[in-house]
Homo-oligomer: 434 residues x 2
């Protein structure tokens, strides 16, 4: 294997876990990478906030807190792993403007301001890649952007947050409450001390926006996503779901809705009943998966680790190799075109099945009055099961898919019904697919 004469300079911004692993992999696999790229990749600097901190595996002379100086050195590739909106945004714009290809794992930034970054990359004629921003190590965005480019995607269903999937898997396996499962996840390091971004679905919403943008060639930002987290999911919900043959998963859903002139995109994150036989039901613990339904390809699923320094570094490195190859070839990869620009539709326009769990007074006529409320709002019942008797009677109701906006109306109607003691839970349901 002859060493290529050419070399490309790589600047890594961010000296955390992922940054350290990226530098390590670039070093350890230098020969392999050189063969794959056709040029040696040389790390010329690692930008960090705190130069005093020890960073084993990174040669000290590479470390600097002078980000401007690093960008002034005119690198071929800039790998942004600082996270957050600023100074990441300004730094990436400066790197692109200076003609560097940029690889980032910054989901918050891409979900908020991806369009501006893409424009800057396009103007400069350089690549902007962010495979690691969604579902960590799973090669997902590139297939979505390239392999399925000749297909028409109908729906994307993603388990894209490992923390919440771990919590829900634990609740299912042990019967524990949400609070107990969260505490266990925090103890194991699967959940942060402040778990808000994960359990309230915000992290998943950022990823949903990115997936939707790529799948539907439409600019979707974080603010376009309807979000409901898993705080309200109870052990009782999980048991009831299991009895009906479902797992509860926090899904990021991006969907093309309507037809002809009224086609739009609806993007949302919420706890969802998934049939046990669906491939997403088998995605347990902190694993991630993205399930895509396309006109021609049918059902396709991508599965793997969603987080962790080394898996994320692997995704970053894949992007680095792609950008480096393009640079050697004097070209760029395909653009994230948002040429379709479909309108963003509110969650109310989506169609979904519902699962409604009620505590009712076991009296003659109660089923009829409950069924009446569903009928009144145009919600069609698929199955109704009674559990227990007397004061403890419960109704487990599954509906056929119907308009999301009818759900609130139906549930409000049920709450007004004297014979309904309590609406124990209301959750959306996805079907088997086709």
């Amino acid at each position: 294997m002859a060493a290529p004469a050419e070399q490309l300079s790589v600047v890594v911004l961010g000296g955390g876990t992922v940054g350290t692993q990226v530098v390590r992999l670039l070093d350890e696999q230098a020969d392999d990478l050189a063969a794959r790229v056709g040029a040696r990749l040389v790390v010329t600097g690692v930008g960090v906030r705190d130069v005093a901190r020890e960073r084993p595996g990174i040669r000290p002379e590479l470390i600097t807190d002078d980000l401007d100086g690093l960008l002034d050195s005119d690198p071929d590739l800039v790998v942004e792993l600082m996270g957050g909106i600023e100074p990441a945004r300004a730094t990436i714009l400066r790197a692109l403007g200076g003609g560097a290809a940029v690889v980032t794992a910054n989901k918050a930034l891409i979900a908020t301001d991806g369009a501006a970054l893409h424009r800057a990359a396009e103007q400069a004629g350089v690549d902007l890649y962010y495979e690691a921003a969604v579902a960590g190590a799973i090669p997902l965005l590139r297939p979505l952007r390239e392999s399925l480019a000749g297909d028409r995607i109908r729906r994307v269903l993603g388990i894209v947050n490992g923390t919440t999937n771990y919590i829900l898997t634990q609740m299912d396996a042990t019967g524990s409450s949400f609070a107990e499962a969260l505490a266990a996840a925090q103890q194991l390091g699967y959940a942060e001390a402040d778990p808000t971004a994960d359990i309230d679905g915000l992290d998943a919403a950022a990823k949903a926006a990115i997936l939707a943008s790529l799948a539907f060639h439409t600019r979707v930002t974080f603010d376009d996503v309807s979000v409901e987290g898993i705080r309200a999911v109870t052990a009782e919900d999980i048991t009831a779901a299991r009895e009906m043959g479902f797992d509860i998963k926090l899904l990021a859903i991006a969907e093309r809705i309507g037809s002809n002139g009224t086609t739009g995109v609806c993007v949302r994150v919420h706890p969802t009943l998934v049939p046990r036989t669906h491939p997403l039901a088998g995605v347990r613990d902190a694993f991630n998966a993205v399930f895509i339904e396309a006109d021609a390809a049918g059902q396709v699923m991508f599965y793997g680790r969603g987080a962790g320094g080394v898996p994320t570094a692997s995704a970053v490195l894949g992007d680095v190799v792609a950008a480096a190859r393009n640079r050697i070839a004097g070209s760029t990869g395909p653009r994230d075109s948002s040429y379709a620009e479909l309108p963003i539709l509110p969650i109310g326009s989506a169609s979904t099945g519902y699962f409604v769990h009620l505590r009712v007074l076991d009296q003659p006529g109660v089923l009829a009055s409950v069924a009446g409320v569903f009928a009144e709002h145009g919600a069609s019942i698929r199955s109704m099961t009674q559990k227990g008797e007397g004061d403890q009677a419960e109704l487990l109701i599954l509906t056929h898919p119907g308009r999301e906006s009818d759900l609130a109306a139906t549930v409000a109607g049920l709450r007004r019904l004297a014979r309904v003691d309590e609406v124990i839970g209301v959750m959306r349901v996805i079907g088997e697919g086709q």
Copy 2:
């Protein structure tokens, strides 16, 4: 959406199901594709063997049996869907030599002579893509070639033949024999009248060769693959496996073996016990999946439809879009470099766990003598379970991973043992992974 001025000519060779679907999709999604590619894709001819046959959806004036004439027309892209070695091989070489990018679904040809085709593409400076050759609609080869390019792959485990997976799933679900399940699959059109290529593992072996070549940057051909099909799998094997917590799957396995100076690649196809908790166990019916274990990415799985005209056409179209984009940009995609050229190792050098199912005489000392045979050949027993008594006693034995070559020796030793009535089944086992 303004129509791009530029256009690219596309010649489709083969007017079967996939060819017809490709032409249909190119036509139906012309505007979308033009926006994605930056040029209109215009089908200028469809080469078929029998021009008399009706082909709904293809304009009759496009159809011709003059393949040479089509290639003489100097097309930008040639889509080869004729299958078989010749004339596909000569035609592709001619197309590449003439400067056309080539997209093919021809797994037999790529597995046999991929290296020569790649050389021809490289010399001509054009793309050669074949996403549809392995696992139909699943975007798999591009991620393997590009997204995981910065990683080091240890092992690829694939369910890459839908027919055999359907048969094994049926045997498991209904308790039917292999012959009954095959007949059912034939009736449903999942298996051909002559099912040899599928059930003897030959189709899977071709795909294993392609996967191994890409994963390990090494030229692996069909002849390098050790193959064992599913003809010998019995209902008894499936029941025994289930009792031990396993599913039986026909796996294509490509593995990097050894370390330092002695690293090589071992590629094989055989029925394998897969733990029920492994993501591959959930791949049922005619679905395909490829599970990849990489140093950095960890475990990654790709799941979807492995066959069918429309799903396969989707994969072909993804390649067409990629090749067309590169053509517009005046570049080519990354090469399938076989720079590593690791030696191909025989199956005997692989390490695997074994499952051995024996009928024994229930006499004192039988366990000891059976265990003795394992010990003699260095095979370490993980669990031994006795079922039944007297004449009907059975032993279900699982071993720890050991050298594949010790398996034959151990089994031969067991057959010579007087107290062993019958070796009911011997099968390889994969572990949970890490």
